[in-house]
Symmetry: C2
Subunit: 135 residues, 2 copies
């Protein structure tokens, strides 16, 4: 199972891009995603830590973009929410006394590293503005 973080964060940012001059409340955003507002605020906390958005507390508060949508790429969103793409690892430490068990994770990692490079290249070419313009 893959968490919805990337999708949720992208959804949030798309909304903020569509209303660049408004402070949107977590309640409003949650209504579009159909998600609990607390979880929206958590993802926003992550975006704030990366200085992508800014929030205002109190009445009529909310969140807006801190950076122009043309300056943010999907790669950055990916990195903020996903770390890196991979096809998974077995849960337990494989048997180090077996030549395959000993190197399997290392070999998978290097496969996944290549994968990330390709995916990153793709995502790097798409700005938040590009993505938002599809709506």
């Amino acid at each position: 199972m893959i968490s919805g973080k990337f999708a949720i964060t992208t959804h949030i940012l798309t909304l903020l891009t569509k209303f660049p001059n408004d402070y949107l409340s977590s309640e409003f955003i949650a209504g579009s995603i159909n998600l609990n507002p607390v979880l929206v605020r958590k993802e926003i906390a992550n975006l704030k830590a990366h200085h992508i958005v800014e929030s205002k507390e109190g009445k009529n508060g909310g969140t807006k973009l801190a950076v122009d949508a043309s300056k943010i790429t999907l790669k950055e969103i990916f990195e903020m929410t996903f770390e890196n793409i991979n096809l998974g690892y077995a849960k337990n430490q494989p048997n180090p006394d077996c030549p395959v068990g000993k190197k399997i994770n290392q070999n998978l990692s290097s496969l996944y590293a290549d994968m990330n490079q390709k995916v990153s290249l793709q995502l790097e070419g798409i700005t938040l503005e590009d993505f938002s313009n599809q709506f």
Copy 2:
């Protein structure tokens, strides 16, 4: 969380490639992966359904490759265990009355489709033989 299916199946197939003339037991394979043998047998059932391996029941039974390792690519393993790569979706149906909610999943899907194409191209170029030769 990403399940270990791809990693586990690749591990199994690497072992079978290393011992192309033997029927390996699920117990033996499980010992290398450090995984419950029942789960190994489940992944093997999947491989059998795809005619990649064959099994023999009873004493001295086990599993061996049914196809030469040079004829199997990581893309096939990927497709048997993962379906397609993506960065996830929000769990709940987004609000269809919001222009963004209405199209977000569709736009994410098309992004992920591109991603799959790139990843597939990479995995297609690596045979099980190639992968196994790294050990």
